[in-house]
């Protein structure tokens, strides 16, 4: 089942790209990746994780208890990796087009 990737969902997928992470790890990584502009709340994070798992883009990869706190890890599936690659390519192409457009346009000034 394909899923439309919002910016937040894209960032969560990206956070899982290099290694499996638990919920708090995803929140931190998303903050780093977005340069501190995206701060996921737990409700938002688990809504996104639920949808990513239902779409087959992510899956649980085990759990551990650290200091009495349950950490459930999530990892990217091959389908998730494909979706992430496709979305990254789309964003790259979009950024390239935007760059081209902006390169030929002067900044509007005040008359």
């Amino acid at each position: 089942m394909a899923m439309r990737l919002t910016e937040q969902a894209y960032l969560v997928l990206l956070a899982l790209a290099d290694e499996p992470r638990h919920g708090y790890g995803v929140v931190q990584e998303v903050r780093t990746l977005s340069g501190g502009t995206v701060r996921l709340g737990a409700g938002t994070l688990y809504g996104i994780l639920d949808r990513l798992v239902a779409a087959g883009y992510a899956e649980g990869s085990g759990e551990v208890v650290v200091d009495g706190r349950l950490r459930r890890y999530y990892r990217l599936t091959p389908e998730g990796h494909d979706a992430l690659t496709a979305e990254t390519a789309r964003l790259t192409a979009l950024a390239r087009r935007a760059d081209r457009l902006l390169g030929g346009v002067t900044r509007p000034g005040i008359a």
């Binding site: 409700g43 639920d50 706190r69």
Partner: protein, 391 residues
């Protein structure tokens, strides 16, 4: 939750998490509580409002996402039509929830009520009597038949059919261990019932203006209504006080000895369960139905109030002593039925297995398609023989 999360903080999170479906909470509550504890400032004892509202919104979104479409839901509620298997998880939450039987009978109530009120459109008087009697009947129906309705819906909605995919909420018919309410849960429920009944009876004895009476007329008895005299009120309240004294005497002497003397037999086909939300709703329906009946026939209720109050007053100290005895140990009492048998000095009897439902995942792995009849892949373990757990 583990020792790593402050208990008060976990309780605070638990309250906000009620926005999520029950099954979701059961699977993820510990995990999301840990994440929220990580995100919270050190020493936080409650979840901040912003995070709480985030959970509230996300929880309701999750409910909405998993809810069947309106038309399918209407067919499910009104006609018990089977939902698409993709909504099986939602159906399980619904069927196991406290409001399932209440809503199920509410629909019947609404249908009967609507039919009964149709003549009002033609100018007839509203059939208030019917509604008056139907409400307690409905509540008592929930108390008595609630479990049966629930089992029927499990069979219809959750049992996986050939060609369907096995999920965690899927069920298969089977012979299962007999569920029995745990002793602590049973005692707590019995105490709530006894207190409620006692309060209602005392209120009736103090406030009821009349009571049903039988007057001898010649060879026969005439049932009539007599004013509630001060003597009748005192007699009823005296009976309640006497019941309390008898209960206290039993609690001091006999209860502990009977609990200790209890000799349980092996129960390989018993599954001890808490009363649970469904059980509590049935119990509330029974008490509510009884209270409504007392309201509709106050004279008869006033007549019975004294003896019933005596029983309730006697039960309270006995139940308190029983709870103490069970908590302290030294007795083999485990289930509510054990309490009854031990206090009545009856011998224990081994439970026998009963028809029920088992998790389909005990038969085939989650994600497997249930084989069609004649399919060679059907060489899976035979379903429906496990008796060590309920479905």
């Amino acid at each position: 939750m583990g020792p790593g999360v402050d208990a008060a903080f976990a309780r605070s999170v638990g309250r906000w998490l009620r926005a999520y479906p029950r099954r979701w909470r059961a699977a993820r509550a510990d995990e999301i509580t840990a994440v929220l504890a990580d995100l919270a400032p050190p020493g936080a004892r409650r979840l901040d409002l912003r995070s709480g509202l985030g959970l509230l919104v996300a929880g309701w979104r999750t409910r909405w996402r998993e809810h069947p479409p309106p038309l399918a839901y209407l067919g499910y509620v009104a006609l018990e039509l089977r939902l698409d298997p993709r909504y099986r998880d939602w159906a399980r939450d619904d069927i196991e929830g406290p409001w399932f039987v209440v809503r199920r009978w509410g629909v019947a109530f609404a249908v009967v009520g609507a039919i009964a009120w149709l003549p009002v459109l033609g100018g007839d008087d509203p059939p208030l009597d019917l509604v008056r009697w139907w409400a307690p009947t409905m509540l008592l129906g929930i108390a008595i038949w609630g479990g049966h309705w629930r089992a029927r819906m499990v069979a219809r909605q959750l049992v996986v059919q050939p060609g369907e995919t096995v999920t965690r909420s899927g069920r298969i018919p089977g012979v299962v261990a007999r569920p029995r309410i745990g002793a602590r849960s049973w005692i707590a429920a019995a105490r709530v019932v006894a207190v409620t009944v006692l309060v209602l009876c005392v209120a009736l004895l103090v406030l009821a203006p009349n009571r049903t009476d039988a007057v001898r007329e010649g060879a026969g008895l005439q049932i009539t209504s007599a004013p509630m005299t001060a003597g009748a009120r005192s007699l009823g309240l005296g009976l309640a006080a006497l019941g309390a004294l008898v209960g206290l005497a039993l609690a001091r002497g006999a209860v502990g000895a009977r609990l200790r003397a209890w000799r349980p037999v092996a129960q390989p086909y018993r599954w001890v369960v808490p009363l649970g939300a469904a059980g509590r709703s049935r119990l509330a329906a029974a008490v509510g139905g009884g209270a409504l009946l007392a309201l509709w026939v106050p004279g008869f209720a006033a007549l019975l109030a004294g003896p019933v109050a005596a029983l309730a007053a006697a039960a309270l100290p006995v139940l308190a002593a029983t709870r103490r005895g069970v908590s302290e140990g030294g007795t083999g009492v485990v289930a509510g039925i054990d309490v009854v048998r031990a206090l009545r000095r009856q011998p224990d009897r081994a439970d026998t297995p009963v028809d029920g439902h088992l998790p389909a995942a005990d038969w085939l792995p989650v994600g497997t398609v249930v084989p069609l009849p004649g399919d060679p892949a059907a060489a899976a373990p035979t379903p429906g023989t496990a008796v060590d757990r309920r479905g």
